[in-house]
Symmetry: C2
Subunit: 350 residues, 2 copies
């Protein structure tokens, strides 16, 4: 197979972890005779620094015209603590999601056997947990009108949803549930928010097409609690953009490290693959960042294009790294292995 | 002391747990020579059933003209799963918060030594955790304009904040931090939301009055993760309404049961005390609901009126109940004690 992949290393640890993902893909390409052509482009704080624009035209065009996008991470504290910054790295990512129409962000959560002990949660709580979060990614408060009055004393964010936006991701989530344990939990705040009530209504309607899937509802506050009290109750979780952002980071604790979790964002034509962790600027250049989430993002990419066998080789290699404790310090505080060593181990195993 | 207390038992398990809180207050009154006069009123689903209004005029007037409000819980699934319901129990609670101007909801989180093992989190993670969440309670998406178009295909919720709303709760949070470990963590989503950027700016400004308090910032997705990974890092958490709703329920897992946590909501003149758990309709009338959160809400009420010694007698009694394992099934699955027995134990101990 021939794939052209746009690579956006981004900020902080992004470049280091993406390098390891590319190494894994090169190794797969060599062994299984595929050609992966990588084209790098700027996004995030690096893009602002070099061009003034967090998503330069050129980057967007590249992403629109490649088979897939592989993203590192974006974000830089120098923008976070400046409420008056007019351009911010995150705008690049949000614009990219919108322009590529990446409406569904999918994050699988499942602890590794060899890592059960690294979770802050007790073994009996997490052993056997296995669920997937479907987060709506191009709507809600992320993209609604924002206002700030002239005096800078009053601000607002509008959260909006339409039936169509809810319907399309609901179908994906129900289809995923059909292939899994046939349970879908809709998370919302329908006792307070109008948009949540619309979600509930539309999802109930969509559910009529999937009579074999059991649908239930949880308020987001309760869901935040249930994820920790009893994560095994979940199969597929469906929720809106901001709730999905919060709950999927929270759910990462089940696996022991956010450094292990990849996600895929799907649109009608495009797909973007990334680790769910952020740019972690404190770790930049120190060879301590966990590359596994990025390597697994590359595996999700392979799966997306039907290269299931190849993806499984990567999963296997990652499992071996974990089993042999060739892991970074987030998973083993006294580890002598860094980003590079873990990445090498994985690609050598392929 | 003479106190007139409005009691709103509400829905589900509300009446049962509030009964135990009243018993504790009666016992305190008898021993320490105070007169507590309780006046009960309707709110929530019970109020809708009897009057059509989730917060009848009479209830509101009573609350406005008493020293304090003691609330059970409100909510009923028959409204939750009907997106077209025109009146909902929660509207009563939200209106009460607004009318009494209860802008700050304060939820202390601290595990009991004797219960460390009932948390899903490992002992070393939670032992020593001790923090308080300040949640803004009368602003944000809870109270902004809501729309639903005629066809019922498009909905919106407006999240709004003003400098004034942020300033007043920020002062309370900083003052609390000064009396504690002098650290305040502001939780927001300033990389995406305009309201969050306003929060950051205003809180930074307020912080100049409290140079002895260390201020830091966390994005809400990261905060949801940090609460579980390392809850000991927190002292005072300050956040807006919806984030506070999610994070404080999530934080309850640290204590092993949401059935242990009370909260106080403060306005300029009024104060409301309640357990943070919901109406838990499945448990209604079964004598299995944990009354401790409500009993502790009563203790917070005493503290609020300067009856510190009396409040501590209740804390002591609750600790004893926990130590002697006179607790409900949420804390000890094979417990033979119910709501009533736990409440009796506590008031007998006073
Ligand atoms: C960087 C930020 C804008 C982003 C989000 O909130 O969506 C990130 O947290 C994520 O989850 O991908
Ligand atoms: C019942 C509901 C409206 C309420 C809220 O969301 O504020 C509850 O969850 C709470 O935290 O007090």
């Amino acid at each position: 197979m021939n794939l052209k992949i746009a690579v956006l290393p981004g900020d902080g640890i992004g470049p280091e972890v993406i390098l390891q993902a590319k190494k894994a893909l090169y190794a797969i390409g060599e062994v299984y005779n595929h050609e992966f052509v990588f084209e790098e482009a700027l996004m995030g704080a690096v893009a602002i620094d070099k061009t003034g624009n967090p998503l330069p035209e050129q980057t967007l065009n590249l992403c629109l015209n490649t088979d897939a996008v592989l993203l590192g991470a974006i974000g830089d504290p120098k923008y976070d603590n400046n409420p008056n910054a007019k351009v911010r790295p995150e705008q690049g990512l949000l614009k990219l999601r919108k322009e590529l129409g990446l409406f569904a962000n999918i994050r699988p959560i499942k602890p590794y056997k060899a890592l059960i002990e690294s979770s802050p949660l007790k073994r009996e709580i997490i052993e056997g947990a296995d669920f997937t979060i479907f987060r709506e990614l191009t709507g809600g408060a992320y993209f609604g009108t924002k206002t700030l009055n002239e005096e800078g004393t009053h601000a607002s964010d509008l959260c909006e949803y339409s039936e169509e936006e809810i319907t399309r991701i609901a179908h994906l989530a129900f289809q995923s549930a059909q292939k899994r344990r046939k349970k879908l939990t809709m998370v919302d705040k329908a006792n307070v928010l109008e948009t949540s009530r619309l979600w509930r209504k539309v999802v109930q309607k969509v559910s009529e097409n999937y009579p074999d899937v059991k649908l239930d509802f949880l308020f987001v506050d309760n869901a935040a609690m249930q994820l920790i009290l009893n994560p095994k109750q979940f199969d597929v979780i469906l929720t809106e953009n901001l709730f999905g952002d919060i709950l999927s980071d929270e759910a990462s604790v089940i696996t022991g490290s956010i450094g292990l979790l990849p996600s895929v964002s799907l649109g009608k034509k495009n797909a973007l693959f990334e680790p769910i962790h952020g740019s972690y600027p404190q770790a930049k250049g120190k060879n301590i960042a966990n590359p596994i989430a990025s390597i697994l993002a590359a595996a999700l990419l392979l799966e997306h294009f039907g290269l299931t066998k190849e993806a499984h080789v990567i999963y296997k290699a990652v499992e071996k790294a974990i089993e042999y404790k060739v892991v970074t310090v987030d998973l083993k505080p006294d580890s002598k292995f860094g980003t590079n060593e873990v990445g090498e181990f994985v690609s050598n195993f392929i």
